[in-house]
Amino acid sequence: MPDPTIAQSSTHDIVVSGQGVGKTFADGSVIALQDAHFNIKRGSFVSLVGPSGCGKSTLLRLISGLIPPTSGEIAVHGTPVTGPRADISMMFQKATLLDWRTAIENVLLPTEINGTPTKADKNRAFDLLKLVGLEDFAFSFPAQLSGGMQQRVALARLLQTGADILLLDEPFGALDEFTREHLNLELMRIVQEVGATAFFVTHNIAEAIFLADQVVVMTSRPGRMAKIVDVDLERPRPLSIQTSVEFNKLVEDVRETLGEM
């Protein structure tokens, strides 16, 4: 009796899958991504790590539906991705806030695109700003916020969409080391709190492992998924976990795959 239940729940648990996904850019024969296969479970935090040109950003944009694959298929919640969709939300390296809108108005942008924001939407936006620690800056303009604060607003906007799949393209890559570390901790807490599935692009190996349940190691020319490393470290993870033996074994594993050892 328990067997069908297990079988059913396991197929339902896969929220994002890719079969033989490839992307070749039309100008020239640049193979950005080749033959990628993956099945990502609900609620996982997936880091994509690799050198520049390994196709990690391309993979993210393929999942988001911003660009179509040249070969293969990506499915989200069981339906093929044919374009941008409501259950996926994306965040970029630049905060991409609108300068003429206050923080709260920036957070409300996705809601506005879909219709007129209700009182509940506004309350939700306030709550999200509180979640990212910016409740006192709801009415500040981007120019009045630091780079780290701007990315927090972008994070709140990402969550405002209500999407359960979050695509993060080096979201804190332009920030200084301390701010980045701090925001990574918050990101980990927030993603867990909302129960979302996250894809996180980075070229920092330690960061990739620290955040993730699974690290997708990618290599370049042509861009390929070389290996998927499972990270079985306990959560919540303190920053000090990065000095542990298990953690460094994982770092070595990733490094070896990247051929940097």
Binding site: S64, G65, L66, G83, P84, R85, A86, I88, S89, M90, F92, K94, T96, L98, D99, W100, T102, I104, E105, L109, P110, E112, I113, N114, K122, F126, A138, F139, S140, F141, A143, Q144, T161
Partner: protein, 290 residues
């Protein structure tokens, strides 16, 4: 900046910002007064031909005459200003409209580009006599001249503003499944406001020059015609009074546009951001968020 804050110059410790400012104003006023006095006495003792370089005291008297005693300048001032305003509005509508149209339509852009280059290379004021020939004397040809000279800056600035939209923001809007209209209204146009405003500022200055040229040609009314009449009558002091009137006008236009920019493109200014921030807070923060 930080270094300056940390180690203030000894002078700055004693002088507050206010006294430094006052000193600077005094110095400028001193230089200005000296120049005026040199002009006055140069004219009195015959270094300067008083016929072409009337004394500042005479120019001041002319100001009094044309503004208050005779009061004849008001009519012409009004004539010029209404021309400038109408032509500027017309040129702006044409420039911004055409600029966004060409900016959004790449096919149109390709076909229009050579004409834009030709138009940019041609001094547009040269077409003024032809416009008068085509439209006849009167307000319509004058306004046409002003529209022609002032439409270009808003056109080019709108075009570049619309075309230089940040790729990442565009991608953000696409990922949120925004419609073309939403991209236009919520991203492209607000993003282009500051550069369009810069074009408008240039346009208004150009409109004033255009109005003067139109009046020089038509010689019926307006400050331009007045300058012509005074110069022909060798009433140079009054001509200078008219010219300084235009100086003041140009300055007021500059300041006025600055003020408009402060309100329209508020997010560029510290004060503007603070003002709008407080207003938005008051508008959104109902009693349930107090």
């Amino acid at each position: 900046m930080a270094v300056q804050d940390a180690i203030p110059a000894p002078q700055a410790v004693e002088d507050t910002a206010g006294t430094v400012r006052r000193k600077r104003i005094l110095r400028h006023a001193g230089i200005f007064l000296t120049l005026i006095l040199m002009w006055e006495f140069g004219s009195r003792i015959g270094w300067l031909d008083p016929l072409f370089y009337p004394r500042p005291s005479n120019i001041m008297r002319s100001f009094w005459l044309i503004y208050f005693q005779n009061g004849n300048v008001w009519y012409h001032l009004y004539a010029t200003m209404s021309l400038v305003f109408l032509g500027w509005i017309g040129g702006s509508i044409l420039g911004i409209g055409l600029g966004s149209l060409v900016g959004f339509n790449s096919v149109l852009r390709r076909f229009l580009k050579p004409y834009v280059i030709v138009l940019e290379a041609t001094p547009r004021i040269a077409v003024a006599p032809l416009l008068i020939a085509a439209l006849g004397f009167g307000a319509s040809s004058k306004i046409a001249i002003i529209v022609l000279v002032c439409f270009f800056a808003p056109f080019i600035n709108t075009l570049s503003g619309v075309m230089n939209v940040d790729e990442d923001r565009l991608e953000l809007f696409r990922s949120m499944r925004a419609s073309k209209m939403q991209v236009l209204r919520k991203l492209v146009l607000p993003d282009a406001v500051p550069i369009i405003m810069a074009g408008e500022r240039l346009a208004l200055t150009a409109a004033l020059s255009g109005a003067l040229v139109a009046e020089f040609i038509q010689r019926d009314e307006g400050i331009g015609s007045l300058i012509l009449v005074y110069t022909r009558n060798l009433n140079m002091a009054s001509a200078f009074a008219c010219i300084f009137t235009l100086t003041i006008l140009g300055f007021l236009i500059f300041k006025g546009m600055e003020k408009i920019d402060f309100y329209v493109a508020f997010w560029k200014y510290e004060g503007g951001r603070e003002r709008v921030s407080a207003k938005r807070r008051a508008a959104m923060e109902g009693p349930d968020h107090a």
